[in-house]
Assembly symmetry: C2
Homo-oligomer: 301 residues x 2
């Protein structure tokens, strides 16, 4: 299929045009398409959802998609697979929970592997967000397992970041240590019927009290995604954050952040290609690694 | 402490000299030390050990350390934490299994986080291997959880790569799909008393038959690391691989590979710093991301 056909389908609002455009972006051939549709992007509500394996992210996603659909919004879902070779089985089980939406033409679901992409979530994911946005999808949900840098990156790409936590898992202590406190716009304690759920809520509240928030103070929502309980509360928290971003004008810096992140990954990718050529052509093995690095860097700018 | 003191301790074979040198490397101040001791490195046997969480890597490590010590070898162990904020609890449990060796002055154990380092395992880990090697440790074991790119990177840094698998986990199918077959010099089916252990052995053998190995054919070893069963077989497999590397001269390209990998990470780190300065100073947000990337790249060579 040629670029004109893809673009015609895309412009006509046909899902296969979007699907093809994303595939091209994934294989590194998306530049022209992205450039062409870029001026149309910038209207979608982008939500990142991260958390440990097993916390119920896909069930939460499914609940949010259902909510958005009930409000008549078109939806895109991007499920980013972690790059571990050892966990696909579990993730496949997760993915199935989204299948009630597979037949809805106004929900576009796409999963992608972070393996091979510099820095995990980025690269093709940023292109995919942009393409879905330009396609006219109103809400874009980016779901990723919190391994590697992905939970930090998702916060750079999304306007609102949800961090889902598991009661009784010890997650809350880790959250504070790992700098997750800084990226969460909304904490979601899922499986709220768990005996430790209230204790986790108190822990998170306690941690928040110790911190001095400038601007937005993260919301804390209790959900039981399987039964749908708390999804309305979660939606309200998302809307409240969006209202905050718009009223304060922070939405502009959020968009700029996502843009900067994408450009950074693009440039890094190109620099890596050049570097790999250089390593082939003129790596001196007579030096220690630091001297060899210095030698290679001479000639770069 | 100044560099002269660290170096004097290091040269005198005092563990605190090595410990301090590694800490400097971790905080990015290791260049001078590494350059100074580099000529002394290149003698250690480096072994990478990767596999899914829960497979028993630390118990395997502990068994290998015990074996090496019984042969009178000095040992370094590097445990690379995955960068997930959500799994430290589990890993700490793992780490404890190494504690029988903490009091042995000829075993130097160090754990480090991959978070923050470009590409996971690399960076400080490469420096640490080099420092331990130059310090005179004869066997260096690098242990990492198979998340992110770490399982691939470990194979670039280590001369012999062990991939540990869990019977009954579906791991064997993933191994083939994820390109792990290409990095494993030795497969270790741990928990050999598991009812599915023999089935997993057959699966891996079957997969190996389908592939056409040039040179080394991966060994497959069954272990019960907790009881120590199979550790002697594993040691023999490691020695066989080492003999193969030496006889064929492949050890030279293995060393070159590790060197190239380290230089690559060093250069990438410096390029990222420059790029971040550039992004601050002259990122145009009037363009689409690809055009903005092109604009930034002008002026880079």
């Amino acid at each position: 299929m040629d670029a004109d056909t893809v673009l015609r389908d895309f412009d006509a609002g046909r899902a296969r045009g979007l699907a093809r455009a994303i595939s091209w972006a994934e294989s590194g051939r998306g530049a022209d398409l992205v450039r062409h549709v870029y001026p149309r992007a910038g209207h979608a509500l982008t939500i990142g959802l991260t958390g440990p394996p097993g916390v119920g992210k896909s069930t939460l996603s499914s609940g949010l998609v259902r909510k958005a659909r009930s409000l008549g919004k078109t939806v895109g879902v991007i499920s980013v697979d972690p790059s571990s070779p050892f966990s696909h089985g579990a993730l496949l089980g997760d993915r199935i929970r989204l299948n009630e939406h597979f037949v809805d033409p106004d929900v576009f679901i796409r999963s992608m592997a972070s393996r091979g992409h510099l820095g995990g979530v980025s690269g093709a994911t940023a292109d995919t967000i942009l393409l879905m946005d330009a396609f006219g999808l109103e809400m874009i949900l980016i779901e990723t397992v919190g391994v590697g840098q992905s939970e930090i990156e998702i916060a750079e790409l999304a306007q609102t970041t949800l961090v889902a936590l598991q009661p009784g898992s010890g997650d809350s202590i880790q959250v504070l240590k790992a700098g997750i406190m800084e990226i969460a716009d909304v904490f979601v304690v899922n499986k709220a019927d768990h005996p430790m759920a209230n204790m986790m809520r108190r822990e998170i509240r306690g941690m928040m009290e110790m911190l001095d928030f400038k601007g937005w103070v993260p919301e804390l929502v209790m959900t039981q995604a399987l039964s749908g309980e708390g999804i309305d509360d979660l939606w309200r928290a998302i809307e409240a954050h969006r209202a905050y971003l718009n009223e304060t004008g922070e939405i502009v810096s959020k968009r700029r952040e996502a843009f900067t992140h994408q450009v950074r990954q693009l440039v890094l990718g190109r620099l890596q290609e050049r570097l790999d050529d250089d390593l082939q052509a003129r790596l001196s093995t007579d030096l220690d690694p630091y001297a060899a690095a210095d030698a290679l860097l001479q000639g770069w700018r």
